[in-house]
């Protein structure tokens, strides 16, 4: 029998990861940034983290800043690709990218644009991570403990091998290179939330067991 508190927690966490994914995929509007703030505040309250405070209360994030930071056309302030941070060459499509692709494949997925866009783009990694969360939640609600545990193990591994290793230096580049309040806050939230997963995953595992 699914525990209402567990479900509520997992739903909030999932909602926040989806929103983060969305915020890195393209510039988001005022409404979505408001929702992101509410969700971050709520999730932060659960973890004793101040996540909502720095996110601006009103106004959409600055579009040109999004492109300057993450898209181009010039040198990116914070390239949102794992291999840029972890590979020796610091370029795209490296061993890290291959490892991420292999990870997706192990869960029956592959990126539609796998030959043209790096598999280890932040928005893709966050979408994948959210999907694992979503499926784990569904399994939990359906009473399939084994499946939920398998999907949780996947999250742990993906967090351990990928997100945890590069979201920190990525967020730091945003903080070093942007004066924009929204994106500085987004970087902080992303860093804190990814860092918190270390404990969160342990807590969830305890419940599922």
């Amino acid at each position: 029998m699914a525990d209402a508190g567990v479900v509520a927690f997992l739903e909030t966490r999932l909602a926040l990861f989806f929103l983060l994914q969305r915020a890195y995929a393209a510039p988001i509007g005022a409404e979505l940034s408001g929702t992101l703030r509410e969700t971050a505040v709520a999730y932060g309250a659960l973890l004793d983290l101040d996540l909502g405070g720095p996110l601006p209360d009103a106004g959409p994030p600055d579009e040109p800043e999004f492109f300057r930071l993450f898209v181009g056309p010039g040198r990116l302030v914070a390239p949102p690709y794992e291999s840029v941070y972890l590979s020796p060459e610091g370029v795209l499509m490296q061993e890290e990218t291959e490892a991420v692709r292999a990870f997706y494949l192990a869960y029956g997925l592959e990126a539609r644009a796998k030959y043209t866009e790096p598999d280890d783009a932040l928005s893709l990694e966050l979408e994948f991570y959210s999907r694992l969360q979503k499926d784990a939640l569904a399994a939990y609600q359906a009473g399939d403990g084994a499946e939920a545990a398998r999907l949780l193990a996947g999250q742990r591994e993906f967090h351990q091998e990928h997100l945890r290793r590069w979201v920190e230096p990525f967020s730091q580049r945003v903080l070093d290179g942007s004066a924009n309040l929204f994106y500085r806050s987004l970087a902080t939230v992303t860093r804190e939330v990814v860092q918190a997963e270390e404990q969160v995953l342990v807590s969830i595992a305890a419940v599922l067991a």
């Binding site: 590979s87 020796p88 060459e89 610091g90 490296q94």
Partner: protein
């Protein structure tokens, strides 16, 4: 003397084009700040200012300092004389980078480990030349067995090359020969 693979650098033919240095990076996808091979001006030559060059990688010394100082025994010398490093063993203490007179071992702050040229031994095993040698457009860099290498113009060291008494590096140079110059700064 047992087999000892090493390099012969014909400075008289070297044009300083850096193809060797970059071919090495291309081959091993090296970190941007790490060069296993480096081409640099041979400044001891006043008549060819800036335009004579040394191309130096690991010299696979007879007595490798890297091997001697490494606290975890990461370095070893193969039968063919190539000095290799067990990268998993490396703890990034940087003793080798400080000890090597030629700057062959390069430290990566990002990965907290040292690495160096291993004379492309996997390419050699496949019957290929080292990447740097294969890339040289002037055929100025060649792979030789120092034990049997004979060239009356070749010397073990040139001015500007670090002192080689301690390690006996497996490299030979052919120094540049100067032509006649009509210059306008007389």
């Amino acid at each position: 003397m047992p087999k000892q693979l090493g390099f012969h650098h014909n400075m008289d033919h070297c044009i300083g084009c850096k193809a060797c240095q970059m071919a090495c990076k291309n081959e091993y996808e090296l970190e941007t700040d790490v060069n296993w091979r480096r081409v640099y001006p041979f400044r001891e030559d006043p008549s060819n200012p800036e335009r004579a060059f040394l191309s130096v990688a690991c010299n696979h010394c007879e007595h490798p300092e890297c091997q001697r100082v490494c606290p975890v025994g990461a370095y070893s010398k193969r039968e063919d004389g190539i000095v290799v490093q067990d990268h998993d063993k490396c703890i990034g203490c940087r003793l080798c980078t400080m000890a090597c007179p030629y700057g062959a071992a390069r430290y990566s702050p990002a990965h907290r480990k040292a690495s160096k040229c291993e004379l492309c031994h996997t390419r050699l095993d496949a019957g290929l030349q080292p990447a740097c040698v294969a890339a040289c457009p002037a055929k100025a860099l060649t792979l030789v067995d120092i034990a049997t290498f004979k060239d009356r113009d070749a010397v073990p060291s040139v001015p500007g090359f670090p002192n080689s008494d301690i390690t006996n590096p497996s490299i030979r140079f052919t120094p540049p020969v100067h032509g006649k110059q009509y210059r306008r700064d007389a």
